[in-house]
């Protein structure tokens, strides 16, 4: 099915299942521990042996010698493969660092050996017996601030509209500040893990934890130089991803090499202390933001220049992603610099770009509102735009940012807040309120599915993954709605490369894309059923197909009917800017004596088109808000600039938000519909919930204390000396 024009009205406008709250159909499996994750495939590979990895112990350089004899002769060891024994493997899609092979060490904890043994304890102990000699690389300058200073003003702007210099010269109100966001780690609960059967070196089966099955399949094929037809990849349950499991990682590669070497299926999970430096993370950013405004609040200039790092050839992080499009403004200059650094790989983490960009931009907006002596909600409303500011002929497909701000302000009681910083107390706590805007693009990707009607049951097969996002449930709802059937009669089969390729999960494109793909497959199934029965204008309702003289239950169709289709996206979408919008409101308490900051209340208002399932969508949003609390207050990968690795590489030292950090949370979904975005008029929402949260907290901290902290996380050491006198 090609989506060639904006959808006017369709069956989803009269929905019985889509848009209604529905508990997760995979819930009972998850709460009873019976959903099998990648390391637990006793159903499929009960005899898998244990793989254990070894990571490089230097930041970058070369390995000059490896001696694995002691490991090979250790008890229970079946095989050892060292990186010196094989040529560098081809890289998979979007891999920047090599995953295995060769003498070069590109980053700390890069995988350099795998041990296979009869037991986990034996494999782990043997890996420690491998001797490695290194030649360390030339010390690298890992100072991102210094890099920004060097690069500032260089290169062609990514976006340039009007005479920015003149706008800043002439504006009555200008702010110009530097902002810092730290490196962040996905820290999903399930470490990267794979069970691989490549026992005979021929066909390969990979039970893994991955967000995009088809990409993973292609990457494995490229890595090992084998035909895709000989590989099967399955990932029915994924213990969190947040971007860390988008691309092929070392767990699957090592398990495959170990399986081939030992001639048995092998399972391997990255030890938690290895995850941070072996895999990927969100780059730290340095951002300079300048805003110019007239006295009436109208922005006349937006100037955003930033820097992030990555390994050579990588994409780094683009914190200016939202700046060309989020707010109106007469002139604009936007530039992001990506600096090569020999550090662990930077890649996509939840809302790449916007998450760290809005951490800075939304503080800057707060600062300008204050300079204008204007309500920050009102200031944002004044600068709303319904078109792409750089290309005014391109309208937004559907944008209700102003409504998000207004609804949120009303629901939160914004008008009742104290507007003079540092003037509201609750016992020992200074109380503040903050707001921030949220924006995240609404990307969609081609997505396929197979729909099978068999004895009154509908089976949906697609390689789409459910990484906690609710795919099982929302795709079942979409299928049931399209076929006019009960959800209980739909069986979902996901995340298997034997099924049609989907969008996969990432970039908040998963739900809108894969649901559209399932819709396409089900519409094809409707056509086929109608054609088989010779019905024109068939309708599907209540588990029955009717039309002409026919009125029969789908369960009466004896023969299995199967169709496969995919959603393809027409060029007409390029005539629109597509995005999702929101507003975050928070109340924070800052301890007047210690500077301890606690979030006391949170509200998100989201404009993301039709919400397919309010339960799972709300969980996505509150989960994003929780991640935003961590980003604001505690998450910070500590870089050892001398040694070139992140020192706090476990879950004790990299501090994500816990139960005690999270207060009452409220989510309001605007009842919006975007017929340009998808046939369901739905857009993604999983990343929107994170975007802007940290800045709302920073703005609340300012309102509480009168101290502007522009360097995340907002830890007490950064402002305790400036707290108001007690």
């Amino acid at each position: 099915m090609k989506f060639t024009q904006p959808v006017d009205s369709n069956l989803f406008d009269d929905a019985k299942v889509v848009g209604k709250p529905m508990q997760r159909i995979d819930g009972p499996l998850k709460v009873t521990g019976t959903a099998p994750y990648a390391y637990e495939r006793n159903d499929a590979a009960p005899d898998a042996l244990y793989g254990y990895p070894l990571g490089a112990a230097i930041g970058h350089g070369r390995i000059t010698r490896m001696d694995a004899e002691a490991a090979r002769s250790a008890p229970g060891v079946r095989a050892v493969v060292t990186t010196l024994e094989i040529d560098p493997l081809e890289k998979g899609i979007n891999n920047v660092a090599r995953l295995f092979g060769g003498a070069e060490v590109q980053h700390y904890h890069q995988a350099i050996a795998v041990v296979v043994a009869d037991t986990f304890e034996q494999a782990r102990a043997a890996s420690a017996l491998i001797e490695v000699d290194y030649e360390e690389g030339t010390p690298a300058d890992l100072d991102l601030d210094a890099a920004f200073e060097r690069m500032q003003g260089t290169g062609e702007p990514d976006t340039l509209v009007g005479d920015v210099e003149a706008a800043f010269r002439d504006a009555p109100h200008v702010i110009d500040q530097m902002y810092h966001t730290p490196a962040e780690s996905h820290t999903m609960m399930e470490p990267h893990a794979s069970t691989v059967d490549w026992s005979d070196g021929e066909d390969m089966t990979v039970w893994t934890s991955n967000q995009m099955i088809n990409v993973n399949l292609k990457s494995i094929a490229a890595t090992f130089g084998i035909d895709r037809e000989r590989i099967r990849v399955e990932s029915p349950y994924v213990g969190g991803g947040f971007g860390s499991k988008l691309w092929l990682r070392a767990d699957a590669v090592l398990a495959a090499l170990g399986s081939r070497a030992a001639g048995v299926p092998v399972k391997l999970a990255l030890p938690r202390p290895m995850v941070m430096n072996n895999t990927t993370h969100r780059s730290a950013t340095v951002q300079r933001i300048r805003l110019a405004a007239r006295a009436d609040g109208h922005l006349t200039g937006i100037w955003h220049e930033a820097a992030a790092y990555c390994l050579p050839g990588g994409r780094g992080e683009n914190p200016t992603a939202q700046t060309p499009i989020f707010y109106a403004g007469d002139t604009r200059r936007v530039k992001n610099h990506v600096v090569d650094m020999p550090l662990p790989e930077t890649a996509d983490m939840r809302a790449p770009g916007e998450a760290s960009g809005l951490m800075a931009l939304e503080i800057a907006m707060d600062e300008m509102a204050e300079a204008l002596d204007m309500d920050p909600v009102q200031f944002r409303i004044i600068n709303d735009t319904q078109v792409d500011p750089a290309n005014p002929d391109i309208p937004f497909s559907d944008r209700h940012f102003v409504e998000c701000l207004e609804r949120g302000a009303e629901a939160f009681g914004w008008s009742k807040r104290n507007t003079t910083p540092g003037e509201q107390r609750d016992g020992d706590w200074l109380i503040g309120h903050g707001v921030a805007g949220a924006y995240r693009g609404a990307l969609v990707l081609p997505s396929g599915a197979r729909a099978i009607l068999d004895g009154g049951k509908l089976i949906i097969e697609t390689d789409m993954t459910d990484i906690g996002t609710g795919s099982y449930t929302i795709l079942a709802q979409t299928a049931a709605e399209t076929m006019g059937m009960d959800v209980a009669d739909v069986e979902m089969r996901l995340a298997n490369s034997a099924f049609p390729a989907s969008s996969g999960s990432g970039g908040q494109f998963g739900a809108p894309s894969s649901a559209s793909g399932v819709y396409a497959a089900c519409m094809a199934l409707r056509d086929k059923i109608a054609g088989n029965l010779g019905i024109e204008d068939a309708s599907f309702n209540g588990g029955r197909v009717t039309g002409g003289d026919t009125d029969m239950a789908l369960s009466e169709i004896n023969e299995e009917v199967s169709t496969e289709d995919a959603i393809q996206w027409g060029d007409f979408q390029k005539d629109y800017a597509m995005g999702t919008f929101g507003a975050h409101f928070v109340e924070v308490g800052v301890h007047a004596y210690t500077g301890e900051t606690r979030v006391r209340r949170m509200l998100a208002v989201c404009d993301a088109g039709r919400i397919i399932n309010p339960i799972t969508a709300r969980s996505q949003v509150i989960g994003g808000m929780v991640m935003g609390v961590g980003a604001a207050l505690s998450e910070d990968m500590a870089l050892d600039r001398g040694r070139g690795f992140f020192a706090n590489h476990d879950m004790a030292n990299y501090e994500v938000a816990v139960h005690a950090d999270i207060p009452e949370q409220e989510v309001i979904f605007l009842d919006t519909l975007d017929g340009v975005a998808t046939p369901l008029k739905a857009k993604g929402v999983g990343e929107l919930g994170l975007c802007g949260v940290a800045a709302a907290i920073a703005n609340g901290l300012y309102n509480a204390t009168g101290i502007r902290v522009r360097d995340y996380p907002l830890t007490m050491d950064k402002f305790i000396d400036r707290l108001p006198a007690i």
């Binding site: 819930g27 521990g33 008890p75 999903m188 609710g470 879950m651 938000a657 999270i662």
Partner: protein, 213 residues
Amino acid sequence: MSPPIDFKLRRRTLLAGTAAAAAFASVPRGEAAAQTQSKPAGPETTTVTLNVNGEARKLTVDNRTTLLDALREHLKLTGTKKGCDHGQCGACTCTVNGERINSCLSLAVMHDGDEVQTIEGIGQPESMDPMQAAFVEHDGFQCGYCTPGQIQSARKVIEEIRAGIPSHVTGDLTAEIAITDAEIRERMSGNICRCGAYANILAAITQVAEESA
């Protein structure tokens, strides 16, 4: 109080100077390793009986095997999850003799004769325990990987509060402890949920506490 670090270092230095270390130097590395393996100082495995979910399970485990791996790898009870293997995340929470522990921080050999309950012993998909059902009802999870540990802790948190065991946020230590949001959040904070389902987990626990009051 633990001995100072330099004390430990001296002990190791002393060991390195013994005849055994000298023997290491005189033979190739591989042979030295093989030699040490052939003469273990004591047994490297132990046979224990764990009473898991009411059933006696006799196991011979490597002395290094954690309770978590005994459950997951020996008994194939994979509902108890390994998130960090270092007692940092809480995904491996199960109960031993009625108390919740991080099973990754405990060796199986320490639990001969102990009563262990895993998530599999609490309920099955078609016969869920009230806490499991409440988690489904309130969407107290997303990816599901921390969930068995959250449920184990959740059940015990209610019991611990009712047993009068104080927490960091308990005010009056002599009064009966009320089951408040703050008490639940504090006591659940050893169980990390990166998907961020905390508010929904709190709702699930609160409902179960109220229904069982």
